[in-house]
């Protein structure tokens, strides 16, 4: 009997995991289904676009700028001095656009947007505001979840695009100011080396990460338990889940785009 305890524990964990995946899949399905079922709430959508997109620009810009700069220094220091003037811009461009841009912007959005969505919705849940919405004939998924998830999915490619450009610019600044590269050559090397596929994959990753980030915030917020502790737990859970899922999705998308 005792020998079976670890197995039983494993079984319970697997069952709990499967149940969580099921609940999450249902939540995702419901969210997406509201896309085609009126009423819609354009005002809430507009506010979500501002909150998630516009107000995230500073943090996205700073993250990308420093990362692009550091990347350029690192490649130069890492033994590429021989043909540094060609290699640095190329690797900065590839690195930023393919991986670092989408991933870092995704993680910043998980920190900034997922947490705030989860805390807001969880607070609404524990103060009965979600119940109040229902009694006022307003579907919480339509009013709260869909606008945020849709806005994040649509606006994240733009944020990632901005992040890519600023990241390359960070590398450019370091290259031209610190390492003494020629500005025109740097830009030419960047432009020649990037392919359309790099850019498409970057923006597509952005859309997927935005979807994940907002959905996690809503899911954990809506499923919050009671009290301030519930809100704290929902917020923490949402950010961890969003970050892990973004990194996992990044791996899968990289595999899909570049392994062929």
């Amino acid at each position: 009997m005792i020998a079976l305890y670890p197995l039983a524990a494993l079984g319970r964990a697997v069952l709990a995991l499967l149940a969580a995946i099921g609940r999450f899949a249902i939540f995702t399905g419901q969210t997406v289904s509201h896309l085609v079922r009126p009423p819609f709430y354009p005002r809430e959508f507009g506010q979500a676009m501002m909150q998630i997109g516009y107000f995230s620009l500073p943090v996205v810009g700073l993250t990308a700028l420093f990362t692009g700069g550091a990347l350029a220094l690192q490649i130069y220091a890492g033994g590429a001095r021989f043909s540094a003037e060609a290699v640095v811009p190329q690797i900065v461009a590839i690195g930023m656009v393919r991986e670092l841009g989408p991933v870092l912007v995704g993680l910043m959005i998980a920190a900034r947007v997922t947490s705030s969505i989860a805390a807001e919705i969880a607070t609404m849940k524990v103060t009965e505001q979600i119940d109040a919405l229902v009694t006022l004939s307003t579907h919480p998924m339509k009013y709260l979840t869909l606008p945020r998830v849709l806005a994040a999915t649509l606006v994240m490619p733009l944020l990632v695009g901005v992040g890519d450009i600023i990241g390359i610019y960070g590398g450019f600044l370091v290259g031209t100011e610190r390492l003494g590269f020629n500005a025109a050559t740097y830009l030419k090397n960047t432009a020649d080396f990037l392919e359309l596929r790099d850019i498409v994959s970057s923006l597509a990753k952005g859309a997927v990460f935005g979807f994940i980030a907002a959905l996690m915030g809503c899911y954990y917020g809506m499923n919050s338990t009671r009290g301030a502790m519930g809100v704290g737990r929902a917020t923490k859970g949402s950010v961890v889940a969003a970050a892990v899922l973004i990194l996992a999705a990044n791996f899968i998308l990289t595999e899909a785009f570049f392994a062929l």
């Binding site: 709430y41 119940d131 109040a132 006022l136």
Partner: protein, 248 residues
Amino acid sequence: MIRLTDIHKAFGSNHVLRGVNLHVPRGTSMVIIGGSGTGKSIALKCILGLVTHDSGTIEVDGQDVRKGDRDAFLARFGMLFQGGALFDSLPVWQNVAFRLMRGSLKRPRAEAREIAIEKLRRVGLKPDVADKLPAELSGGMQKRVGLARAIAAEPEIIFFDEPTTGLDPIMAGVINELIREIVTEMGATAMTITHDMTSVRAIADNVAMLHDGVIKWTGPVAQMDNSGDPYLDQFIHGRATGPIEAVR
């Protein structure tokens, strides 16, 4: 019009409702009393479908609340939540007019605002609170905004969860009168939860006392004082000793 038959509801091992039976005729005012934590709020939430009961049936006009068109069902109800449950991202008037600004009852913004201000006046709030955010108001004021929101669309059935808790005695009197008025003038059916015996006498046609997960006593408010029920007597007179254990 509202009929609960053998309603059970448990949260894990906490069996809150253990067979609640209750009937609220159309156009009457039912007041539910009972100690805190006995499941009064949960009972109202079960009727609205905000909480799903484990067993038993709830009918409104003979129709099972779990079946049928949910939107049409909810459109008949107004609810004041125990904590107010105001939307803290919206100014007070948009809270009150929430239902009038979207969905089937949608009307022009200016008109919705006017109605909101009129409803605020009815709960004793001046027009200058209309543009404040809920967080800028005191608890008692928030409660009254919640009340204004519950009655804004003039629903047929209204639930008030502790409408006078946290109000001064004069304002409590105003709110009691308002609830009575809504029932007698608008012909609404009301269910009110309260601990305040003055409110009970002012609002109720019928009273039901919830204890240990069941309705211990129910009857017309006039019979409340000589019911002969020890639980009810203890509650009405606020005695520390009696069949209801006051754990200290």
